[in-house]
Subunit: 156 residues, 2 copies
Amino acid sequence: MTSTPAEEQQAEHLQQVFHNTIPLSKAMNLEVVHLSANCICLKAPVANTNINIHGTAFAGSIYSLCALTAWGFMYNRLLIDKLSADVVVAEAKIRYLRPIKTWIRSEYELDEQKYAEFHQRLLQDGKARFSISVQAQEDQQLQATLDASVAVKLTD
Amino acid sequence: MTSTPAEEQQAEHLQQVFHNTIPLSKAMNLEVVHLSANCICLKAPVANTNINIHGTAFAGSIYSLCALTAWGFMYNRLLIDKLSADVVVAEAKIRYLRPIKTWIRSEYELDEQKYAEFHQRLLQDGKARFSISVQAQEDQQLQATLDASVAVKLTD
């Protein structure tokens, strides 16, 4: 994934929002790898803070990275769309498929048509929920999936 | 909840296991409040490391505390039952019902009959899954629920 200078700025801004407002994301050494209007990728090293008793990635770190992928995508997209809103993860289901040994790496790519429907509901009702399915994978092996329902409420 | 001296030792041991093998639990200032053969309670302060952009508990911290409640309960119960096994959270669903402002506090109490059936399957097949429903609550207000499926595999 190549990024435009504007996208690089957005990625840097989101990483600062994470580190400045969510201390655990900093403790996790979370990085924003790529961010655009329709795509996001985050990563965090398993060593040293995201490890568990088995020497692989801690379930809570994998969840946190995937949940912040969903939240961060929506946060950035609303900024691009010039909408002022509160964003919270309302519920989420995670499945752990394989142990993660070196990097936790999450990805999400938007379906623009699904987003257009959500955007319309949001403008009409002042609030709406959007489903975001995040994948954690490395070397094309799927390691975990998170299905999150993100609740958005306009504030202006 | 009052604890016997043996239960207090178990609680102290589990907290050390968390802090020594899962660095994020230490960063979260996670504490084991109560632990027995059929009951567990954990807590962590929202300030300073478990906070989010809204000044309430970070979704990933709530999830991590609840997932460690499920994992920690099973870890301790298998110790009591003198079974040597690997324990992992295989999947989990979390629902966030209310913002958490001061302490994240999780609870789980075992249904012994359900556990007896699981125990039998585990001895018979060498592996089995067990469903654990954790509640996060304060002042009798339910704030979040986690339904976790914990996979257990005998190692000896």
